[in-house]
């Protein structure tokens, strides 16, 4: 068996661009897929896709999916799944509507209570999964039914709204231009430029670190090209946003959450332990990791994010409907798997889940603009999900 290690070493030395691309196909594939899909819809919708108003719309439409995908990724990396998020999202939206519209509670108090309710819901489900070892599929399937019913009951089958402006601002508000120019929105541009610089700086730092440790390096041309595309795309989107109404509040929320969760999963003890839990729960437990508590916390976090998504969703529609969130869990789970997570746990990245959600979002949006019926949309989305997973498995077999 000793020959495997030395073979790998020899292989790494002689490996060229093509081979590097082969082994990292998944990382590039996702990015290129998103770009290709955007280019395709940009072409077939005669440029409607990337109009400033539509880009803004894209962010607003997908914000709650992305917020929930962050939590779902962590749940799935931990080796579980949560089918209840759509229903919980709808329920929390209904709760907010009842609190504000019917009980007249202040917006701030309502938001805190709703987030608290989400945490409790997550804890209630996580308890059975983590400490009683009941399969998460079953517990959260039950949760899905329970909270669907609970939304109906809470709203008595009616839509409840509208919300005060301060609540709507959660979703449809925009960051005002601090520089007072407004068209283009200079604040948005400034934030965009800073973000792009931060991305480039972190990329360079990681590259320097890799080099210091002699890890197989991304060819310089690849690095430059990849970062140029990312930077270009970011700047392009930001420019478009700035010529419309600037930065949507929810984009800031999403951005901050994405950074926080990416940091949490990649750089902290907690994150590392969640990956170990999903990768090999028995080994993690024998390494002194409190695997039950950890699994429990992934559900608590999921409840919190589902509640936040519920608030954003209700604020966007400006009303809470009993049907809100139906089937949404499937979009969220699809986004996570398109983003490269593994059903068996232990594998997946926050950034992947976010890109996966955007791929789904752009397809939804593009097909709607084209006037493709919901029937075809569903079929196409299903096939894309299957293709993404087949691509993953194929890549793995080729390497294995």
């Amino acid at each position: 068996m000793t020959h495997t290690a030395s073979d790998a070493a020899r292989g790494a030395a002689t490996r060229g661009w093509a081979a590097y691309f082969g082994t990292h196909m998944r990382d590039y594939g996702l990015l290129f897929a998103l770009i290709a899909i955007m280019a395709f819809f940009q072409a077939v919708t005669d440029g409607t896709l990337l109009r400033p108003v539509n880009i803004t719309n894209l962010f607003l439409q997908n914000s709650y999916i992305i917020i929930m995908a962050l939590g779902m990724l962590i749940v799935i990396v931990g080796g579980n799944i949560d089918l209840s998020v759509g229903s919980v999202m709808g329920f929390v939206g209904a709760l907010a509507a009842v609190m504000i519209v019917e009980w007249g509670l202040p917006v701030g108090v309502t938001i805190l209570l709703c987030l608290g309710a989400g945490i409790l819901i997550g804890a209630a489900q996580g308890y059975w999964v983590a400490y009683w070892k009941i399969p998460s599929f079953i517990v959260t399937l039950a949760g899905m039914l329970v909270f669907r019913g609970a939304s109906l009951w809470l709203l008595e089958g009616q839509s409840v709204g509208p919300f005060p402006r301060s609540f709507q601002a959660l979703s449809t508000g925009f960051v005002p231009d601090l520089f007072g120019v407004d068209r283009p929105n200079v604040t948005a541009l400034a934030v965009g430029v800073v973000a792009v610089m931060a991305i480039l700086w972190m990329g360079l730092r990681k590259r320097a670190r890799n080099r210091a440790y002699g890890i197989e390096d991304e060819p310089a041309a690849f690095f430059a090209l990849r970062n140029a595309i990312i930077a270009g795309a970011c700047l392009f989107l930001i420019w478009k946003l700035s010529t419309f109404r600037g930065l949507p509040n929810v984009l800031i929320t999403m951005g901050v959450l994405t950074i926080v969760y990416a940091f949490l999963t990649e750089k902290t003890v907690l994150g590392r332990r969640i990956y170990a839990l999903g990768g090999n729960a028995k080994a993690a437990k024998l390494s002194g990791i409190a695997t039950e508590r950890l699994a429990f916390l992934t559900f608590v976090n999921m409840g919190f994010l589902a509640a936040l998504a519920g608030l954003v969703f209700a604020a966007r529609l400006n009303t809470a409907t009993p049907k809100a969130g139906f089937g949404m869990e499937l979009d969220v789970i699809a986004a996570v798997f398109i983003g490269g997570a593994s059903m068996s746990g232990g594998v997946g990245k926050i950034v992947g889940a976010v890109v996966g959600a955007f791929i789904m979002g752009v397809m939804n949006n593009g097909m709607s603009i084209m006037g493709i019926g919901i029937d075809y949309q569903q079929m196409i989305k299903g096939l894309v999900l299957l293709a993404a997973v087949i691509f993953d498995v194929y890549n793995k077999q080729k390497q294995g």
């Binding site: 290690a5 750089k267 902290t268 170990a276 990768g279 028995k282 002194g288 990791i289």
Partner: protein, 506 residues
């Protein structure tokens, strides 16, 4: 009597290991032939070659069965010729009925539609033959292990068995169940069924076997005919273990200090069957700088003892006390056991020791992440430095510490597991089969690491099924059998014969 089976010059290699080396093995028609040897001697491998688990072409040598050279491509081929193997771990589906299990894969059906009348009637018949009075519709998990073993034999009979291979059939059985099983094998012999029986229990071998073949280190040592010459247990034991001990074990200056680790009156029952006591009133101690072994056969309860001590990771109704450095410590969770200075290096590194899809680095730091973190945030430079240090110190052969551990060889994976536990900073290390499945060179490196630990004043408790390894490495050896310690030998007193006789005469 005619020769039914002859295996000639069988050689089987796995990467880095020669499991069988020019083995010759022949069985006469109608006899019961016992195959004995230490764990790892190659008995099971030989039987897997015979039954087609390792298909023709993956080994060298010839199998001559019933006068013809055989080229089995799989189990189905050997079964068609009436060669049926019953593995040590029973292959029954617990939630199906006895009858369904007997005809699994061989269903009594017409055009895919099962005839339950025929299934149950034929099952009934077969059950009578093996002396079972259970209804064929009884679910298999409702009957005891002994009866399940009989169901396996009924299943073999349903396939018109000519040569029945039983791999340690009585290992998990009680005394009376074992007797019943051996009687049945004798009865089958009277009906003309030839049997090969692999067993560690030499008294049973003596009772039923007509011939005895001893394997050692993948080679045939001797075949003795029990009908023409009396074969004593002593004779068999000497055949089994009589090997030259070269310098396979690095020398160490032995210097035992104060008592460091002590377990008193430890009792554990099986997690699912509260009436089965897996560890019985075990007491042991390890001094600073001492390497103490626990010898015993598979299933003696050694791993269960170790895992129950380490954070109650096995069993229930655990009683007894653990002390480290003279102070009684709480080891009721893995985190507490680690905190008390214990480390347990598992026998099953892939299932219980490693996160295979993660890198070497992430595995090394897993048991002590706070040491490379500030306020819960990992210091990645430090983490990499730690992993690099262990890579050098333990000579882990990997292109980089960022390599996934699943791409490493067994020996290097084992070094990663050891690194993980050394990084946790323990005082006492429990090593469970630390050299299982790794090649000779890597074994030597692991022995050196163990010696270094002892030099640093750590206590090492080592479980091993390879007796030479225990004799070569340990200052003291406890012998365990059926959940209890049945003897304690110092390095000077210990020999393979003494350990073996403590086990078989218990």
């Amino acid at each position: 009597m005619a020769t039914l089976l002859e295996m000639r010059g069988i050689t089987k290699t796995f990467p880095g290991v020669r499991a069988l080396d020019d083995v010759t093995f022949s069985v006469r028609e109608g006899e019961i032939h016992a195959l004995v040897g230490e764990n790892g001697a190659g008995k099971s491998t030989l039987m897997k070659v015979l039954s087609g688990v390792y298909p023709h072409g993956t080994y060298e040598g010839d199998i001559v069965y019933d006068g013809e050279v055989m080229a089995f491509g799989g189990i189905a081929d050997s079964e068609r010729r009436g060669i049926i193997i019953i593995h040590q771990e029973l292959a029954l589906v617990p939630l199906l009925s006895i009858a369904e299990n007997i005809f699994l894969g061989n269903e009594r059906a017409t055009a895919g539609v099962i005839s339950w009348q025929e299934t149950n009637a034929r099952a009934q018949e077969l059950l009578r033959k093996v002396g079972l009075r259970e209804a064929p519709q009884t679910q298999v998990d409702r009957i005891g292990v002994g009866k399940q073993q009989l169901v396996e034999i009924a299943k073999a009979l349903s396939k018109d068995v000519r040569l029945l291979i039983l791999d340690e059939p009585t290992a998990a059985l009680s005394e009376s169940d074992s007797q019943a099983l051996l009687d049945l094998i004798l009865e089958l012999k009277a009906q003309g069924v030839t049997s090969i029986i692999i067993s560690h229990k030499l008294n049973e071998v003596r009772r039923v076997a007509d011939s005895i073949t001893v394997l050692r280190d993948g080679a045939t040592v001797a075949t003795r005919d029990a009908r023409t010459e009396p074969v004593t247990e002593d004779r068999i034991v000497r055949d089994m273990v009589g090997r030259s001990m070269e310098n396979r074990y690095p020398a160490r200056t032995r210097r035992a200090g104060d008592v460091l680790f002590e377990v008193r009156n430890w009792n554990v029952t099986h997690p699912d069957h509260a009436e089965r006591q897996v560890v019985r009133d075990v007491s042991l101690h390890v001094r600073r700088g001492e390497v103490v072994g626990i010898a015993g056969l598979m299933g003696a309860g050694r791993t269960e003892l170790a895992m129950s001590v380490f954070g109650r990771s096995y069993g229930r109704n655990i009683t007894g006390t653990v002390a480290v450095g003279g102070r009684t410590v709480d080891t009721s969770s893995v985190a507490r056991a680690i905190g008390a200075g214990l480390a347990y290096v598992t026998e099953d590194r892939k299932e219980l020791g490693l996160v295979l899809e993660e890198s070497v680095q992430k595995n090394v730091t897993l048991a002590n992440l706070p040491k490379v973190a500030t306020g819960g945030v990992l210091r990645q430079e430090d983490e990499t430095r730690v992993a690099e240090d262990y890579r050098r110190a333990m000579n882990i052969r990997t292109p980089s510490v960022f390599q996934q551990v699943m791409n490493l060889s067994g020996g290097n994976q084992q070094k990663v597991v050891l690194s993980k536990w050394l990084f946790a900073g323990p005082e006492v290390l429990i090593l469970d089969e630390p050299t299982r499945g790794i090649d000779v060179g890597a074994k030597f490196e692991i022995y050196n690491i163990i010696n270094d630990l002892s030099k640093d004043g750590k206590g090492v408790l080592m479980i091993s099924s390879e007796m030479p390894e225990l004799l070569g490495m340990c200052d003291r050896i406890y012998v365990m059998n059926e959940g209890a310690f049945v003897g304690e030998l110092t390095a000077a007193e210990a020999s393979q014969e003494r350990i073996m006789s403590l086990i078989v005469t218990d």
